[in-house]
């Protein structure tokens, strides 16, 4: 088990490093410097500025400086929002994104597992068909189509919920974004859960449990649920990545003041340091989360540990 964890971390750390390295050198390759712009600076001032940001040093030293700042948690100043550092912008917007994202993730797991189990237990009934149709639609429809449609139905036609905004995190403002973000993954999890539950229920140890005369509820919750959850756990990593990526779209559609908005605006305004910082933060989060899920999976399923 220990070697398995070490091995998994052995993949995560180089990935993180390559992410930082790649992002940094992509920025170096970009045409122009941050100081070539609206007006011509006197060469002395330019030299001073370059000295301040270590731009006069050779490339590998610049990278070392950047890495040093990064390890101290300093992402540098924003190029576009004057007087703001990237850290401040992240600190403002991160809570919004994390709230929405965590809720969507929770909703995904609970609804997905619930619906999938329900469909498996009532196989080939109308519940099963409804869940499966819903999950087919959910898998194909992208979030940027679902979100506007939800606004159209629930905000504009029915006027039940606000169409956007954050409003200091009141629950009415959160319902639609969380639902729009989660629906795709609820569908995917339900699909996976259904097929794995059906497979588990057909296996020998369940038959034994039934032969012993255990109550149905006991069989499902005590015996079938854990092995049936395995494929779902392995899907949580990709689902997390998807939810984080999708949050960019969702925040744009609903006008939420989260990280996604900074990301898009930063890309449109070409705010190098902001997008670079956000990429590194989100990238590290993703890589870490995937590693944690993999390790978790190894803890639950001994086959992975030995084989992988």
């Amino acid at each position: 088990m220990f070697t398995f964890i070490l091995k998994r971390i052995g993949v995560a750390i180089p990935t993180l490093f390559i992410l930082v390295l790649l992002s940094f050198f992509l920025m170096q390759m970009a045409p122009g410097s941050p100081f070539t712009g609206d007006f011509n600076m006197p060469p002395e001032i330019l030299a001073n500025l370059e000295a301040k940001y270590h731009l006069d040093k050779p490339l590998w030293q610049q990278f070392a400086y950047y890495l040093k700042d990064l390890l101290h948690g300093d992402l540098g100043p924003s190029f576009k929002y004057k007087d703001y550092t990237v850290n401040e912008l992240v600190a403002q917007s991160f809570p919004v994104s994390i709230t929405i994202g965590a809720l969507a993730f929770l909703f995904t797991v609970i609804m997905g597992v619930g619906l999938g189990t329900l469909a498996a237990l009532r196989q080939n009934s109308w519940i099963d068909y409804t869940v499966m149709t819903f999950s087919m639609v959910g898998v194909v429809l992208p979030s940027f189509v679902i979100a506007p449609l939800m606004v159209l139905i629930f905000s504009i036609s029915l006027k039940w919920l606000p169409a956007g905004g954050w409003n200091d995190g009141s629950w009415q403002n959160m319902v639609l974004p969380v639902a729009a973000m989660a629906i795709l993954y609820v569908a995917a999890v339900a699909r996976i859960m259904r097929s794995s539950m059906i497979e588990t229920l057909n296996s020998n140890f369940i038959r034994t449990a039934r032969a012993k005369g255990l109550p149905r509820r006991h069989i499902i919750f005590k015996h079938a649920l854990k092995p049936a959850l395995l494929p779902v756990v392995s899907y949580l990593g990709p689902a997390f990545v998807g939810i984080i990526t999708g949050s960019v779209v969702i925040e744009t559609v609903f006008g939420l003041p989260g990280i996604g908005q900074h990301f898009v605006n930063g890309a449109l305004n070409r705010d190098y340091s902001l997008v670079l910082g956000l990429t590194i933060i989100i990238g590290s989060l993703t890589i870490l989360f995937t590693a944690v899920v993999d390790i978790l999976y190894g803890l639950i399923d001994p086959k992975i540990r030995v084989g992988g």
Partner: protein, 309 residues
Amino acid sequence: MATITVNKMVKEESHKAVENFSEKLEIEGRSLWADARRRFLSNKAAVASMIVLVAVTLLIIFGPMASQFTYDEIDWANMAAPPSMETGHFFGTDHLGRDLFVRTLEGGRISFMVGAMGALVAVIIGTIYGSMAGFLGGRIDNLMMRALEILQSFPFMFLVILMITFFGRSILLIFIAIGAVSWLDMARIVRGQTLSLKSKEFVEAAIISGASSTQIIFRHLIPNLLGIVVVYASLLVPGMILFESFLSFLGLGVQEPMTSWGALVNEGATSMEVAIWQLAFPTSFLVITLFCFNFIGDGLRDALDPKDR
């Protein structure tokens, strides 16, 4: 004596019958592909999707010619006009007075190009990388797979947005990005398949009968890989289309006045309260295309990949 002749006759007859039978067998015998085609054609959803997709493709290729407008032409008399046959704007116009029929189809061209490109890169790079890793095995395989693992745990969408920040928006960048992502899964799948094929009896038989390794690869391995490659290439296409639409929706994809389905959905979403057709047409095209590709991919998988049946 007589019995022997009779016996002989019977034998001859049965020989003939066997010969006849085997000849007939040869006529009725089906190759893997004929079998697959038959299975695919019996899948109604896949066939219907195929027909719809061909129709959409033809519309995308020839549709713009049927309209009197071009995708960037502004019709000052009909701004944000609803669909109508009289004005010639079959799908209406956007808020700048550009014809949505032509723009939707023009956006479809981008989507199809992106999808085809992703599939092509996946087939070429993914197959070569995967079969190499699988065939060479050992330490090289280990190293190649580690590299793949690292690439796969990258949050690619964000890296692409980062690249767009640095180099500006361009369709070329999107193509590069899609090329970079699309082959990863394919390589993994092809490697697994190669590994299992390598130890099959028919490869052993080929080795024993003295076939060279290039012969083995081209005569025995690649035809057997082809099925799975086709299946996953077709399942990949909707993902690639989504990737591009996602970026375009955020305004990070193709540049005005060119357009794509993602960009059109975004424009439509901002004006859906007053002009629902601006959202409805691009969305339906996108969704129908995605559904079709998914059904066709599933159909191909059922037809070509016996493992999942």
